[in-house]
Structures are given as structure tokens and as C-alpha cells.
């Protein structure tokens, strides 16, 4: 008999285990299935820097959190309804993320004394009272998987590697999700090693049947599809959206894409993704270092291609001299920075948004470059496309900021129509327009962009480089006044981009007591928080900046309409500094530098404090 199904609005699940336990795999599969049946979903993978730290150790715990809902959601959730802990270390690391009375599924086969000791448990938390405020479901996950797969030809070791699908089978049952999408995925994934297809499917089914047959769970849950705008959707990770945005910009502009890169977490997936699209003319060059990676992109741009490079903070530090070259040579270049926790090597697998000032100021001399930031996984598509558009139109390097949280996070994406994509026009110079021959620094009077003349074009032979150039002619110049003029022109060129930016979108009250001003990957937490207050009719608003350099023209006026400006950032107050110095506004910072995203409750407690100060009860 089918057990009762309870309707709920949303749920948050966290899968955790050793980094080799496959938590990322089943987390991703649960996400796919959940998105496909129409829920809104947001994810947070959290994994260690070591590929496989010692088994059972705290350092080796890999987690995958997903939040899904019948409403629009923006974050992977603060606390979890369900925690699946494959071993004591996973329990130890993640127990504080489980709600009181939350469902805790543990693989008790991994709770032997040795595992407990590795996790730092003196006694068994399952029996010693540690877990009394949770609904604990001890499952012999390893033994049950072995039993279910005993007729297969796999070794015990191989069978044990299927147990993540047993766990997924349980969770699919618990939330009334179909198994078919995962089965389909398993068949594709193991197409070249078919001996693993049937066992993994068996494990998945066994987990599902186990829940149906046993008395473990009194009921299962159902989360109805969310209300989405009409359109075709797919689930997408931020880095994949960046890949597709780059391919789209290349395709729409007619410029072949040359992507130079050097592997680095969390940007490598962009290199992996683009390498699949040779049939789009995409050339990926894995170079000897970060400098060579940006060098080939600049060279490709000089040759008339769409030159792109991508990395994370440490790589950006190495690329800065070359970005400056592209700046003074005024060549289109797109630089992706998928930020991670710094400084130096920092915490490579943790998120942060602490490279903003580095991107603004981390080059010698006065070196203005446009900077734009993506706010959500799916937003990476539009934002990187915009980066390419600006780079080509204004002949300038553009820095595209993303971060680990949105780069690896996933959510549904409404696939755009090609006709909605803005035009990108290379407008190569084809002939010398003046009596003096070709003048490589004779600018477009409106955008101040200089002509882009690619080698191979007869009559336009010219020389560029890192030495200061004479206005108009592009000859090397040490003239004092010319240098000041060129510095000013380069700044003015970037500033003029603001002329074409749309007005700032203010969510919530258009004026009032408190404006939450954010940028980048904090969008979800800030928007969710803002929605909560706006629902209680408090005069609060949220502005999230995509364009950080230049700022939108109306930003100053917008800020003036609010009594208080709160800038939450995953750094020590970088946008805060820029806003305070640009607009002479006494903005307040709310800062977290822990390698983890904001929780909504953290923002709420800060906001409550401010509201109290300004007289709201």
C-alpha cells in the first residue's frame, strides 16, 4: 500500500560523504530531476580541495546542498530539512546545518569505532543522545546495496561505489520524484562501461523500494511545480552558462573564439566546456601559464578574433600586466574571473567576492577597464555576452566577474531566443579614411573606440604596443600633454559606456528607509531577504549591480532616495569603499569572509538592527 503523501512548499536536502562517495553526482541528479518536474531549484556544492583526502576524515567531506520549491527561490537554503550523512565525518561537519526535527539519514555501516575516531567522536552519536532533536534514520546502506547487487558480476569494491544511488533512490522516494531521468543519465554516463549500468540502476531501485517497503518513513512529501514565465527551460550551472554565452557571442558576432586558459579551480570547467565546441569554430588553448593564456587571447584579438581568457584570483594577479597591455593597445579582450577565497592560494574550493578592488586597481598606471558581474548561475549567460559586446564595441579589455558559488551552482534557466540577443558588430577597419593614411588611434567620436584593423588588410599596416601612443597617429610619444590627454581619453571611453546602460532597477520601495545594495553572487540571499521584508510592507528595496565600472548613471540619485544604504558583501567592504568614495554617501557594510555564502537569517539580523536604529519597532 502506498504511504500517504504530504504537500509541502519547499525543501532543502544536503548530501554529504567522503569526497569519493559520489555526493556531487547524486546531488546533481536530484537537481536535474527536480528541475525537470518544474520546481525552482538552487544548489550549493561544497567540496574539499584534495581530490580524495584520507577516507573518513573531516578534511575529506564533500557536500551538495539543494533547495527546491513551488515558489521562486534564490538561494540553496539556510538550513536543511534532510541530511544524508554517509559517514561520521560528514555528520560532524554538516550536522549544524540540519533543522531541529529534521530528517537525518545515516549510513550506519560506516559508524564503526575507527570511523568515529577519525571524525573526532568519543562515542557513537547515534546512540549517545547527540541526535535527540532530529528524526534519525540509521540505514545499513552498504550492506543493503551489497545484498541488492549480489547477483551482479561486480566486485565488492565496485558494488560499494554504487551505494550513493541507493541513497538517491531513497530521497527520490521521500520527495515523490521519478527515477526515470536518473536511469537515463546512468545509461548515458556508462555507455562505454556498460557493466556498471544495471548495478547502479539496481541500487537506485533498491533504495526506492526499501523506503516503500519498510516502516522507516511515515509519509513522503511532494513539492508542486513552481510558477514560471512561459518558455523553454533547462537546468544550468553558472560556468556552463558562461560557456554558452561565449559561444553565443562568437556565433552572433561572426568572430571566431580563441580561449586561452590555464587550469585553476573554479574556472577550469569553462575550458572543459568550450573545448567541446570545435564545430562552432571554438579554439581552446591550454597554455603553459596564466600569462601565456592571456597572451594568446590578446594575440588572437590583434588578429581579429574574439580573444577570451579565464581564471580565478591568483591567475588574474599574473595576467594583470597583459590586461594592461590590451588596455593601452585598446584591443577587445574578455577576462573571466571566477572568484574564490583568497588571499594567495587561499581556499580554492570556497567562494568569496574579494577580487573587486584587484580588478579595479590591480594594474600599474591609470588603467580603467569595464567590470561587470554576474549575479546568479543563469545570469552568467547574459553577463558574459554583455562583456563580449562591450569589449568589441569599445575595443577594450572587459573583466567578467563570477564566483565559485554561482559558477558551480545550478538553477533553471529560461533559454533565450536568438533574436533577443543584442547585436555585436566587429566593424573592422577596411580602408584608410584620411589623407594621412591609416591612423590607428583616430577614434569614433561617440564611443571613443579606435579602429580595429586586422593583419591581412592591405594599406592598414600599423604598429601598436605598450608604449604611450600619440593621439590619432598612434606613434610612440613621450610628449607630456599628449600623455595626460591619452590617460583622460581612456578613462572617458570607459565612462561613456554608462550612456547606454539601462536605468537602475529598484526592487521594492522606490524610496524609503533602507536600500540593500549588492553585486555578484550575493543576489539570492539579498533578494530573498528583501522579499521577506517587502512582504511585511517595510520600506526596503534591493538594487543589484551588474555594471561595476562604470556604475549606472542614475545610481547616485537612486542611493540618495534612501535613508540608509546597506552593502552586504563576501569581503571586508570593497563595493562599500567604491560607493562611499564615488558618491560621498555614508553607506554601511555587512561583511562575511568565511568562504561561505550569506544565510538569509544573517542578513535579517543586521537589517533588524538598522531598522531599530531608525525607529522601526
Amino acid at each position: 500500500m502506498r504511504k500517504p503523501v504530504e504537500q509541502i512548499e519547499e525543501a532543502t536536502i544536503l548530501f554529504a560523504g567522503d569526497s569519493g562517495d559520489g555526493s556531487q553526482t547524486i546531488g546533481t541528479q536530484m537537481t536535474e530531476t527536480t528541475a525537470l518536474i518544474g520546481n525552482d531549484v538552487a544548489t550549493l556544492p561544497d567540496y574539499p580541495a584534495e581530490i580524495q583526502a584520507p577516507a573518513g576524515s573531516l578534511a575529506g567531506v564533500s557536500g551538495f546542498q539543494l533547495h527546491f520549491s513551488s515558489e521562486q527561490i534564490h538561494t540553496p537554503g539556510d538550513l536543511c530539512d534532510v541530511l544524508v550523512a554517509m559517514n561520521p565525518a560528514a555528520l560532524k561537519v554538516h550536522l549544524n546545518k540540519l533543522k531541529s526535527n529534521g530528517i537525518l539519514i545515516v549510513n550506519i555501516d560506516n559508524f564503526a569505532r575507527r570511523n568515529l575516531r577519525l571524525a573526532g567522536y568519543e562515542s557513537d552519536p547515534i546512540t549517545d543522545g547527540t541526535l535527540t532533536k532530529y528524526q534519525v534514520f540509521p540505514v545499513e546502506l552498504t550492506q543493503l546495496t551489497r545484498k541488492a547487487l549480489e547477483t551482479t558480476a561486480l566486485t565488492v569494491r565496485e558494488i560499494d561505489r554504487c551505494k550513493n544511488f541507493f541513497a538517491l533512490g531513497m530521497i527520490l522516494w521521500l520527495y515523490n520524484r521519478p527515477m526515470e531521468y536518473t536511469m537515463k543519465w546512468i545509461k548515458v554516463k556508462y555507455a562505454k562501461r556498460p557493466q556498471y549500468i544495471e548495478p547502479n540502476i539496481l541500487a537506485l531501485r533498491a533504495g526506492n523500494i526499501y523506503c516503500e517497503a519498510t516502516e522507516q518513513f511515515a509519509s513522503s512529501y511532494d513539492v508542486k511545480p513552481a510558477d514560471f514565465d512561459p518558455g523553454t527551460y533547462r537546468n544550468i550551472e553558472g560556468n556552463m552558462a558562461t560557456v554558452l554565452g561565449l559561444v553565443a557571442a562568437s556565433h552572433q558576432s561572426g568572430l571566431p573564439l580563441v580561449y586561452g586558459s590555464y587550469p585553476i579551480t573554479p574556472a577550469s570547467d569553462i575550458l572543459h566546456g568550450l573545448a567541446q565546441y570545435r564545430n562552432f569554430g571554438v579554439v581552446t588553448m591550454q597554455m603553459e601559464d596564466e600569462i601565456a593564456a592571456v597572451g594568446v587571447a590578446i594575440g588572437a584579438a590583434f588578429s581579429g578574433a574574439l580573444g577570451v581568457t579565464g581564471s580565478s584570483g591568483p591567475g588574474l594577479a599574473l595576467k594583470s600586466e597583459a590586461i594592461n597591455l590590451a588596455m593601452i593597445a585598446e584591443l577587445p579582450l574578455v577576462v573571466c574571473n571566477i572568484q574564490r577565497a583568497g588571499p594567495s592560494t587561499g581556499m580554492p574550493t570556497k567562494t568569496e567576492q574579494s577580487d573587486l578592488l584587484q580588478m579595479f586597481y590591480g594594474r600599474n598606471g591609470e588603467s580603467p577597464v569595464p567590470i561587470i558581474a554576474s549575479s546568479r548561475p543563469h545570469d552568467c549567460f547574459e553577463t558574459i555576452y554583455e562583456a563580449c559586446r562591450i569589449a568589441v564595441k569599445y575595443r577594450t579589455p572587459v573583466i567578467f566577474l563570477s564566483d565559485l558559488y554561482i559558477g558551480l551552482g545550478a538553477e533553471p534557466w529560461k533559454i533565450p531566443q536568438l533574436s533577443e540577443l543584442p547585436e555585436i558588430r566587429p566593424d573592422f577597419a577596411v580602408s584608410a579614411d584620411t589623407n594621412n593614411g591609416f591612423e590607428p588611434y583616430l577614434r569614433d567620436p561617440e564611443t571613443l573606440a579606435r579602429p580595429w584593423a586586422k593583419p591581412g588588410t592591405a594599406g592598414l599596416e600599423h604598429r601598436i604596443g605598450g608604449l604611450e601612443k600619440s593621439d590619432v597617429t598612434g606613434d610612440v610619444s613621450y610628449d607630456a600633454e599628449n600623455h595626460q590627454r591619452m590617460v583622460e581619453i581612456r578613462a572617458e571611453k570607459v565612462a561613456r559606456i554608462a550612456d547606454e546602460l539601462p536605468p537602475t532597477e529598484v526592487f521594492g520601495a522606490q524610496e524609503g528607509d533602507l536600500l540593500l545594495l549588492g553585486w555578484g553572487g550575493t543576489y539570492g540571499a539579498i533578494r530573498t531577504t528583501a522579499e521577506n521584508y517587502i512582504a511585511s510592507e517595510l520600506p526596503i528595496a534591493h538594487v543589484h549591480l551588474r555594471h561595476l565600472n562604470p556604475f549606472p548613471k542614475d545610481l547616485g540619485d537612486t542611493l540618495q532616495r534612501f535613508k540608509k544604504i546597506l552593502i552586504p558583501e563576501l569581503n571586508s567592504g570593497q563595493l562599500l569603499q567604491l560607493i562611499r568614495s564615488t558618491y560621498l554617501i555614508d553607506a554601511i557594510g555587512f561583511n562575511k569572509v568565511q568562504g561561505q555564502p550569506f544565510h538569509v537569517f544573517e542578513l535579517e539580523s543586521k537589517i533588524d538592527e538598522i531598522l531599530k536604529e531608525i525607529g522601526h519597532a
Binding site: E32, L36, G38, Y181, D229, P230, G231, T232, Y233, R234, N235, L244, V247, A248, H251, Q252, P256, V258, G260, Y277, R278, N279, G281, V282, V283, M285, M287, D289, A292, A293, G295, V296, I298, G299, A300, A301, F302, S303, G304, A305, E321, A322, L325, A329, I415, P416, L418, P455, G456, T457, A458, G459, E461, R463, I464, G465, G466, L467, D475, V476
Partner: protein
């Protein structure tokens, strides 16, 4: 066998002269600098290459030599210190039809750009590298360089440099370079011949040019470049010829075990038959390595000419081939299909 380039000049196009390759910029090297000669020989040979000048790109890093592109009336890019190989690789990849020339020095190529130098050789882009070796940092006014002899007294090493130098030819060979040669700023016709051979070679062509810095390291190569000493201190490499040298052509190089040695060919003990016969097309680099090490050995003549010239696949061709194959197999990229790839769902 040796493949010669076909001309890219359309039939009936006007013949170019040296003057067509001179830019309108004043050349600003110190009077007497060896760079003038290299510039002049390059400008003289360019019309003979048979390609339109708009298809030629000169790319440099930083240093005295790296001002070179400003003086060539072709496309040019004066980039940043040590990075010219990376930018040149991007230029060539994005448009393999271009003739790409990298101008560099001993500091630019072997110190700050050492990493890019070896990887450029390994990838074998079809580009040409002219390394102006003057064994000194000129632009920064006279510090020792990675090719300066050990013990070099300079402003930065008043007690003598302590590190031994690189041998650029050995380094290029070890990095898998497919064309490796040496020439001299003072030998105009040899330099032109070598530059032309480098152009004709398909793959990365590396030329080390002994170049005199008359301000900071004058006469460092004088025994190899001046009329009265040159014949006894250099040996000219010609494919298929024995390694004979000396004013009277009476000396040669033979292999004694694993050691090249200078022998007299007229005193009856050895004849020219005992000498090394140069084979620049040998796939194996053993001989080229022997020859390269001669310039590290006191009292041995320095070989001038082409050490190695072999045909290997080029990076840009292999990559272009991947693009072509992918298009043949999967068809030209369909953006709409790509965006809609994988599992999708529709909300109406």
C-alpha cells in the same frame, strides 16, 4: 623533401623593395649598434619572400631589440617583457595565413620569457624567432644577462656574476625546435640567407644572432665577426659538407668518442674524410647537440649556419584540423540547438 613556400602575392602585383618595408619612424638605437644591420638585412630580404606585406606581422617583447616592429612597415605589436611568443601564438592561431616574426633578446627570451620560449619551440607554431644575443641588458643600462659569461663584471655584479649562462641553441634543441640556426649581425649576406631559410621552414624557426652592443658589451663576439679572426673562430655549417674551417681551410672538426675536437687536415694524421659531415635534416638531435656545445667549449670554433631543420606538424594546423573534423562530423555549430541541448521542459 624540403618544401618551399608558394608565393602569396597575386599575379601582377607590384614588386616590393626594401623601402616598402621601412616605416616612417626614426630608428633610435645607439649609433654603431648591431641592431641596425639586422633591421637592414630583414628589410632587404622581405621583398624576396614573395608575400604581401599586409600579411606580415612583427611581434616583440621588451628590450632594445624589441623596438624593431616600429621600424618595419608591416603589422607590428610591441608587447610586454618576455611574452612575445604568447601573443605571436595567438596571432598565428587566429590567422594561420599570416607570416609571424618574433623579435627578442637574450634577456627577453631566456630570462623573463624563458618559459614561453621553450613552449613555443615545443608547439612548433609556424613562426620565426630572431633572438638578438648581445650577452647584456642594454635598455636597462648594462646588467649581466642569462647568456653573459660566468664572472661577468657589470653594475649589478661588481664582483662578477655567479651563475653560468644558457646556450640558446642547446635550449632550443632541447625544447624540440624544428629549425635552429645561428648568424651574425656583421655578416649581411649570411644573415639574409638564414632569415630566408627560416621563413621557408614550416614550423618554429629559431635564429640566434650574435649582436654587438657597442655601449655596454662592446666586442663580445669580435673574434667571430671580424675579418681577420672570423675564419679561425667559426665554422660554417653547410648541409652535406665536412666541418672545415680556418683561414687556410686546414682545420676541421672530428668526433673523438663523444667529444668534438679540432684537428689539422694537412699534417697527414687526419684528412677531410675524418671530419663530421653536417646533416641539418637529421631527425635525431645528437649531432646538432654536439655542434651546439662547441660554443661552450674553450678553443672550439663557434658553428654558424643551420644546426637543424626538420619537418614536424604545427600546432595551428593540428588545431585547425580539429575544427574542420568536428564540423565535418557534427556539422557547423547550430547555436539554437546548443542552447536547447540536454533535458529541457516547457512552461506554457
Amino acid at each position: 623533401m624540403r618544401r618551399k613556400r608558394t608565393s602569396g602575392i597575386p599575379a601582377g602585383a607590384p614588386t616590393l623593395s626594401k623601402k616598402d618595408f621601412e616605416s616612417d619612424q626614426d630608428v633610435r638605437w645607439c649609433p654603431g649598434c648591431g641592431d641596425y644591420s639586422i633591421l637592414a638585412q630583414t628589410q632587404r630580404i622581405m621583398p624576396e619572400l614573395g608575400i604581401p606585406k599586409e600579411n606580415i606581422v612583427f611581434i616583440s617583447g621588451i628590450g632594445c631589440s624589441s623596438r624593431f616592429p616600429y621600424y618595419m612597415n608591416t603589422y607590428g605589436f610591441h608587447t610586454i617583457h618576455g611574452r612575445a611568443p604568447t601573443i605571436a601564438s595567438g596571432v598565428k592561431m587566429a590567422n594561420p595565413d599570416l607570416s609571424v616574426w618574433i623579435i627578442t633578446g637574450d634577456g627577453d627570451a631566456l630570462s623573463i620569457g624563458g618559459n614561453h620560449f621553450i613552449h613555443l619551440m615545443r608547439r612548433n607554431f609556424d613562426v620565426n624567432v630572431l633572438l638578438f644575443n648581445n650577452r647584456i641588458y642594454g635598455l636597462t643600462k648594462g646588467q649581466y644577462s642569462p647568456t653573459s659569461e660566468q664572472g661577468k663584471l657589470t653594475k649589478s655584479t661588481p664582483l662578477g656574476s655567479v651563475d653560468p649562462p644558457f646556450n640558446p641553441i642547446s635550449l632550443a634543441l632541447a625544447s624540440g625546435a624544428t629549425f635552429v640556426a645561428r648568424s651574425l649581425d656583421r655578416d649581411a649576406s649570411h644573415l639574409r640567407t638564414i632569415i630566408k631559410s627560416a621563413f621557408e621552414h614550416k614550423g618554429t624557426s629559431f635564429i640566434e644572432i650574435y649582436q654587438n652592443c657597442n655601449v655596454f658589451n662592446d666586442k663580445t663576439f669580435i673574434q667571430y665577426t671580424e675579418k681577420d679572426t672570423k675564419a679561425d673562430n667559426t665554422v660554417v655549417l653547410e648541409h652535406g659538407d665536412s666541418l672545415v674551417f680556418g683561414t687556410e681551410h686546414d682545420k676541421g672538426i672530428r668526433l673523438n668518442g663523444f667529444q668534438p675536437e679540432v684537428v689539422e687536415t694537412t699534417n697527414g694524421e687526419y684528412s677531410t674524410d675524418d671530419l663530421i659531415v653536417h646533416d641539418q635534416y637529421a631527425e635525431d638531435t645528437t649531432l646538432a647537440n654536439f655542434l651546439a656545445r662547441m660554443s661552450d667549449t674553450p678553443d672550439m670554433p663557434h658553428p654558424i649556419g643551420i644546426f637543424r631543420s626538420v619537418r614536424h606538424p604545427c600546432y595551428e594546423d593540428a588545431m585547425t584540423n580539429q575544427v574542420r573534423t568536428a564540423r565535418e562530423r557534427m556539422g557547423d555549430g547550430d547555436l539554437e540547438a546548443l542552447l536547447n541541448d540536454g533535458e529541457t521542459w516547457t512552461v506554457s
